[in-house]
């Protein structure tokens, strides 16, 4: 269905090719997962499929890409619209109309289908993706998962044989991600659509894949194989796979269900160790000096007339890492914004380091509390890393070189002349984090820090956060990433509809929760294990 023959892509002005001599064949009806670090050319690979590379992006493509027998050299993207549907990373950026139904029809109108065909296909697609209730809704009023499903539906109506998705679940909470993946699963099984899917969150998708393509970048050939085979040797793998490797299960389980079925003996071995290990992990994590870093008392915040937070009460000490979880729109981001004074409370009190953040300005504020927003680039202003560091030193009146020193600690080896946009996601996060940390705020807030991060970058982030907490920072992170929360959080707070519904040690809150439990916990429940490293440590101590 999709065939890459000796494809190389060089962008204008680039010294080395993004893709070199790629050969790949995706047969009809397969769901192929594309993994690889940021900056290795995954997106370029995806965009080659419908000819956006090179027709739209520029650059030079040598070799040949054919989709359903059509050569992308001869067919620009619009001529391929009826065979390839491509869903961009941020669905909102690709919407052309303002209503769900019109959006579904847009592609069909462009290729000139007859009205009765369009009517039928819109209805079919609404049913297929469970969008029937939303048909008359404005696109802007939809939640993240709904938008993603509409974006998929919008390209499906032209009946493409190939569907290409770029990180469809990266911005979604676990529930919404499952919605989207279930819809994809259905397309592959019932309609025989060929799906090419790039995703960092392997734990969510690897179980659905027929084959995995690893893009190494830097001129190294693609690695293609069955998920089981790739996962045995993959340097980065979802927790369930790592647990399987640790326990020596064969075949390697890819799903929680498979792992659970194989986990009987492991559970027995771990049972006597559980209480002891939990106590130890809590003891190591609670190295608190008891100094209160922030307090929130009966906080109400409204967006217009809509209450986003209804009576939230929370306190956190220095040395704590608090994970704030909850579905999209539950008020996580609002809570963080209020803590840096971006929202003025409608009632209740917020205090960070003894001051009300919304009354603080400039340096007063950034010396007390720092926020790394969801999109770290928002925080960056300069056009090179060096200039960014200088600007940051000036902003917080620090000694020249402060920011650079922090950056070197978090992500060594970033060149001063690089444009922040050309950094990998992990490096960019590190840069934004350095900018914030240069002012040495005792309270550090992170909004969705793992969005778009690969496992390696995530591991570095985990280490960084632990160091910061050990230095006496109070870290609060809003996240959908249950694995991250399980890994670093000393405390988990669950928000729903602007209210705190659970607040306690990570072990108590996430174990047994269908949404927020990490994979290890799902496999080993009811025992209170959260991460592979905990299990490893316990087994090492026992033997």
């Amino acid at each position: 269905m999709i065939r890459f023959e000796d494809v190389s892509v060089v962008y204008d002005g680039a010294s080395s090719p993004v893709l070199s001599h790629v050969d790949l064949h995706v047969p009809e009806g397969e769901l192929v997962l594309v993994v690889g670090r940021t900056g290795t050319g995954k997106s370029t690979l995806l965009k080659c499929v419908n000819g956006l590379v090179p027709h739209f992006t520029g650059g030079t493509l040598s070799g040949r890409v054919t989709v359903a027998g059509r050569d992308t050299r001869l067919h620009p993207p619009r001529e391929l619209a009826d065979v390839v549907g491509i869903v961009p990373q941020d669905p909102l950026s690709g919407f052309v109309t303002d209503m769900v139904e019109d959006e579904l029809a847009y592609g069909m109108e462009s290729i000139g289908l007859a009205p009765d065909v369009m009517r039928r296909r819109v209805e079919e697609t609404l049913d297929l993706l469970g969008l029937a209730d939303l048909r008359h809704r404005p696109l802007l009023s939809l939640s993240g998962g709904q938008r993603q499903r509409v974006a998929i539906g919008a390209v499906l109506t032209t009946h493409p044989q190939v569907l290409v998705l770029d990180e469809p679940t990266s911005a979604l909470d676990p529930g919404a991600a499952e919605e989207v993946l279930a819809a994809l699963q259905r397309l592959v099984h019932d309609l025989g659509v060929t799906v090419l899917l790039a995703e960092h969150r392997l734990e969510r998708v690897v179980q659905y894949a027929d084959r995995v393509v690893v893009v190494h970048g830097g001129g190294v050939a693609l690695e293609v194989g069955l998920p089981h085979d790739i996962m045995v040797t993959a340097p980065v793998a979802p927790p369930v796979v790592e647990l399987g490797r640790l326990a020596g299960w064969d075949p390697l389980p890819l799903t929680v269900r498979d792992a659970r079925r194989a986990a009987g003996p492991l559970r027995e071995r771990l049972a006597p160790l559980a209480d002891d290990a939990v106590r130890r992990s809590r003891a190591t994590l609670h190295v608190l000096d008891g100094e209160v870093a922030l307090t929130v008392d009966d906080l109400v915040v409204r967006h217009g007339a809509v209450p986003a937070l209804r009576g939230v009460t929370l306190a956190a000490d220095r040395g704590e890492i608090v994970a704030v979880m909850g579905r999209n729109g539950a008020g996580k981001s609002t809570l963080l914004s209020t803590l840096v004074g971006l929202h003025v409370p409608a009632s209740g009190a917020v205090s960070v380091g003894g001051e009300m953040p919304s009354r603080l300005r400039g340096r007063e504020l950034i010396r007390r509390v720092g926020l790394v927003p969801q999109e770290p680039t928002d925080l960056l202003v300069a056009d090179s890393v060096g200039a960014e560091c200088t600007a940051s030193d000036r902003d917080c009146a620090a000694v020249a070189g402060t920011t650079r020193a922090v950056l070197d600690r978090l992500a060594p080896g970033v060149d001063d002349s690089t444009h922040p946009r050309d950094l990998s996601e992990g490096q960019r996060l590190a840069l934004a984090l350095s900018v914030v940390l240069a002012a040495e705020p005792p309270v550090l807030l992170l909004d969705e820090p793992t969005r778009g991060l690969d496992y390696a970058a995530k591991r570095r982030l985990v280490a960084t956060l632990r160091d910061l907490a050990a230095d006496g920072h109070c870290v609060v992170l809003a996240t959908h990433d249950v694995e991250l929360a399980a890994e670093v959080a000393t405390r988990v707070v669950v928000l729903a509809d602007g209210e705190i519904v659970a607040d306690g040690p990570a072990t108590d809150v996430v174990v047994g929760s269908p949404m927020f439990a990490p994979q290890v916990s799902k496999v080993l429940s009811p025992q209170p294990w959260l991460t592979v490293s905990e299990v490893t440590a316990a087994l090492v101590v026992a033997s």
Binding site: F56, H136, R327, I366, L379, A496, A502
Partner: protein, 385 residues
């Protein structure tokens, strides 16, 4: 929807979108009527009619909340008009209300006066003239609230389609730009920089524009991938002819409309110009439309309700233009001497007929705008326990 159900009127009809073109014809009709009278009663009646129809047939969508904004804008215009008269008025009239200290101006500024006596006649005239503009704005506002801009552009002829898309995209960009500005301001605050005032504004222009540009590129890629701009084959001669005809049409329509609204131009010149312009334009569009292979999903039908809505708007315009020729006095708000304005029977009736649009048009489909956050299946009781 079958032809017959499309013809059903008012509340008896199934809820459906009334053709946006019909609402615009109706609203422009009312606006034309407003432009030809300064009689405050008639103007107030026009606003009332527009408001009543909006209240009855406004869909529950983000873009349909603009009527009130237009009304406020109208009030601002009246206020500005009055203030100008107070400060720069010439003081014509008998009833002096107040005398402001006047500022002596050099000789070369003869004819301009600042301050001096303010008369009731002058003020009243200012209010009436302000009301004309405010009423026209209210009519445009009504059309904006009743007809979705996206649906209007979807029903433009295929020749204009690509222009239409550009406009839709621009319209969706405006709210996103507001979001960008907020984001950049947030970032400035987080960096400890000033987030208010001139310096903050200057510092945030570049990032906001950068963001907008990036989104434009994303959108263009998405549209290209979805088949935007696929064309069918068409000969060079047809292309040229259609361009010339379109140009002629635009010029003709502009001159004709100006002539009709101006009132100084004889109707005998203006009307034929308008007709010729429209004919040339339509022919040009049909020719140009041959290039496009686009089809329309659920085009809004133009059935009986649409005809009636259009007539309900055109009738007041026609009657008032006719009355303006035969007995112009009744349409003028009397200023010198100050008197209670007359209530001319025929124009009043015609305007009231304009309200029929709110009765004959079908109700719009209900739009649930309640934010539904996906499957709320997160069993949090389990978590809390």
């Amino acid at each position: 929807m079958t032809r017959r159900t499309a013809h059903a009127l008012g509340d008896r009809a199934l809820p459906r979108w009334t053709h946006p073109g019909a609402w615009w014809v109706w609203a422009l009709g009312l606006a034309t009527a407003a432009s030809r009278t300064t009689n405050p009663i008639l103007l107030a009646l026009l606003v009332a009619v527009a408001g009543w129809v909006v209240a009855r047939r406004r869909p529950d969508a983000p873009w349909s909340r603009s009527f009130v904004v237009f009304l406020r804008l109208g009030l601002v215009i009246i206020a500005i008009r009055v203030l100008f008269t107070v400060f720069f008025g010439s003081g014509v009239g008998e009833h002096v209300l107040i005398t402001l200290p006047s500022v002596p101006l050099p000789d070369w500024a003869a004819g301009v006066a600042i301050g001096g006596p303010v008369t009731a006649e002058e003020l009243l005239l200012a209010v009436y003239q302000g009301m004309v503009l405010a009423t026209m704005l209210a009519c445009i506002g009504a059309a904006n609230s009743l007809a979705s801009p996206a649906r209007l552009l979807a029903s433009v002829p295929s020749a204009l389609y690509e222009v239409g898309v550009a406009v839709v995209v621009a319209m969706t960009f405006a709210p996103q730009l507001v979001g960008d500005v907020a984001r950049v301001r947030t970032a400035r605050r987080l960096r400890g920089r000033p987030d208010r005032g001139v310096r903050a504004f200057v510092g945030s222009v570049m990032p906001v524009l950068e963001g907008a540009l990036e989104r434009a590129v994303d959108l263009a890629a998405a549209m290209d991938s979805r088949g935007y701009g696929r064309t069918g084959p068409v000969s060079r001669r047809v292309r040229l002819t259609s361009s010339v005809l379109l140009l002629l049409g635009v010029v003709g329509v502009c001159l004709g409309v100006y002539g009709l609204l101006d009132g100084g131009t004889p109707g005998l010149v203006a009307l034929p110009l308008l007709v010729i312009g429209v004919l040339a334009g339509v022919t040009g569009m049909v020719l140009a439309g041959r290039r496009s292979i686009r089809t329309r999903y659920r085009p809004d039908p133009w059935a009986l309700p649409e005809w009636l809505v259009s007539v309900a708007g055109l009738l007041p315009a026609t009657v008032i233009i006719a009355v303006a020729v035969t007995s112009p006095d009744s349409l003028v708000g009397p200023v010198a001497p100050i008197a209670w304005p007359a209530l001319p029977l025929l124009p009043t009736l015609a305007i009231v007929v304009g309200a029929a649009a709110g009765v004959v048009a079908p109700r719009p489909p209900g739009l649930a705008v309640v934010r539904d956050l996906g499957p709320a299946a997160v069993t949090l009781e389990g978590v809390a326990a």
